[in-house]
Amino acid sequence: MTRVKNKSFAFYLSVYILSIVILIFTFFLIYNYTVSRKLLLKNVEENARHLSNAAVNQIESYFKCIEKTAQSTALFMAKTDTLHYSSHQILKDILSSNPEIYGNCLAFKPYISNGQTIYNAPYCYKNDKQLCYKNLADKSYDYLSWDWYRIPAEENRKIWSEPYYDEGGGNVLMTTFSVPIYKSYADTGSFMGVLTADVSLQWLNELLSNIKIYDSAYAFLISSSGRILSHPQADLIMKENILDLAKETDNTEFQIILQHMMQGKTGFEKVQKAFSEKKSWIYYTSLANNTWSLGFVIPESDLYADLQLLNKDLFYILISGIILLIGFILLIANKLTKPVRKLAAMMHKDSEVFISMPIPEIKESTEIVMLNDSFRYLQKELNRYIAHLKDVTIAKERIESELQIASKLQLSMLPDANKADVYKNRIKITSYMQAAKEVGGDFYDYFFIDPSHLFFAIGDVSGKGMGAALFMSSTITLLRAYAKIEGNDLCRILQLTSDYLQQNNPEKYFVTLFTGILSLETKELTYLNAGHNYPVILTENAEIILINHTHMLPLGIIKPTRISPSHITLHANDALFLYTDGVTEAMNEKQALFGTQSLLALLKNYAHTDKGKLIPDVCKALETFTATAPQQDDMTMLCLQLNNSESNQYLHLSFTDIQNISILTDIQHQIENFLTQKEVPAKSMHRLMLVLEELITNAFKYGFSNIANKTIEINIHVDSTHIEVEYKDNSRAFNTNSAIAKSSSTSPELNTMGKRGFYIIDKMTDTFTYKRENNKNISSFKIIKNL
């Protein structure tokens, strides 16, 4: 098992949970910021308004206080008779008891005394905290022309003057509150003079700068004409018209606010920049008692300082929360996966180790316990399964070994290839069988029922496997047995085999069969086809002839009737090719069949003169066709090739129903003809005839009496060194061996008939054997060809 390099459970848990948490927090943070900003803004505005109001009230109270002081002093002065003389002291007293007042003056209305116009304007002011006194009734000063005197005197009203530099008076930037004094209260006709109270702009500035509503917020004061009365930047005071300043900076927002201020409006507005570049809020309102306007510039950063602080805190909380969460997740994941890792490690052991390994007790979460239980169950099941598998394997091996034996046994039933070699100088036989399973239902067989007659068969039992194999072995055994007994009678062989099979066939198997007897002498093929694929004759000229005749149904189920074999005469070098349907129905991977036509085409184009290579070539073609597709059926092929050059080395003579010994002439004639053809020397020919004559005469003399159908069969084979003879007759048995033994130990003169005959045989032959088989005497002997 290869391990896939994956990220750990902890990794996935962290990634997924953190993503969600960060998402939620981010959303929360943004939401919080937005909402609290909105709330705060409202709050801040209120607060700023209140603070500003408070500051305004404070400033106003100062002004009121100044006004009250001046007004009440004015009333008091109106009642003072010796005002011209005592005014100096009064002014001094007022000044020292009112720190907010820079200076004050009592400017008398000029009067005529002794024909002379008397000007009197005693003035007290502070200079370095020292009280100073001077009279402003100086031609160079001309107090009558100053607004602070002129407007109350002419217009009978109290006023706050526009700020001015009191050149020759207080000599500072100041604003002056002036109130007219009337001898009689509210009688403008009794105007006595003007009482003033000066407020230094410096003091005003100090006053405003002491009002702190926010860290970097500041107040400024402008007059209705736009003059800056108070501002933290001292150089702006009185020197600049604030509108010009705003115009210079091209700041329309601010200009509008300033215009509102000059018009005495109240407001709270945001500007991108005011005096400085900072984003700010400006609260402005007019002072109630005059046309001045007070403004508070509150930088936005100040307003939101708390909010930013809050968000900063939240952010830190978030970060530490996430760090904490990662740690927690890693801890949890580690704890959760520990038993899983333990279990996984177990699985990496060999299966033998695994099945016997104790599975640890785990008391984690339910799922892990379940997993652990599953492992225990798996282990138990594996143990059980392995035990079962062992039993099954043993049983299977036993069956397999038995199948192996069956397979070997079945193959051993087929003719031994060595046996084919024995025949090779007469007929070339090649064969092939491939069972689809260990054992199959196909078979072939061939053997000589006599030296010149070859019996052969190819068959295919329906179905496959053991049943078919047993049926096949029955069939092949029956055929062989009946062929041995019945010899040349093919119909009889098949009839008997069929009867037996049919009577002992509970499973209703059947077998298709092609059987034939081929005479090597005459090349006549006698055959019967019981529902088998048509065999093919390949002629020497590479023509093919299909033996397309079916004589009977396959054997096993239905009893055959009216069987009569067919005959066909083959030619020298003809080959007979037989096969089972496993060949034509070989299937490739596309489920296509090899087919009879492909086989015939292959045979038609077969160029080799040596048909011994035909079957291997067909096998090759089948392999190419089927490739890797598994085969469902047994495949069997049998090829018989006549051998011209060798076939006439044989002579087969068979005589039945012999009447008397005159047959000898006939036999002699045929043998002499054959041996002359084979260029056998006369001497050898003579010896052979002597032996045969002796055997035949002996049969007539001693063995044939009372035998109804006397038969003689002679087979002669000539090879390069010897002439081989097999002689058979159905005369009675006689003890040849003892006869030969006697003859060799006694003289030739002791010539009883039989003994003399065997003496000749013994002298004339190279080897001689005698046997008794099937009520027949069979003598075989060899004579050296070139004596």
């Binding site: 329906s462 179905g463 209703k508 298709t512 189920i557």
Partner: protein, 115 residues
Amino acid sequence: MNIAFSIIRSENPIIISIDGRLDAINADSFETAIHDYLSQKTDNLVFDLEKLAYISSAGIRVFLLLINKLEASKKKIGIINPDEMVKEIIEISGLKDYMPVFANMEEAIVSFKSI
């Protein structure tokens, strides 16, 4: 692939149409089904093989067993409309002698009706 048969004519001769492949896989079930049907009535049989695409030796066995069964009651089997391949197999196996091929249904009915 499945094999199915349908009874086209249920009186003598019974005509049965076979549809599909008759191979080792389904020959047994087909055999059982046919024998079940024939256990109720025994008559001459004509198989319409027009839709029989393939027949293997297991299929041949079914026919052999049928012939065997009907022989006892002297009834016969005939076939109509076999395709070339089926016809060839029936010829090779020798079944042709036991199951005559009729040109058409009418000929089969005429030929078998009187038996």
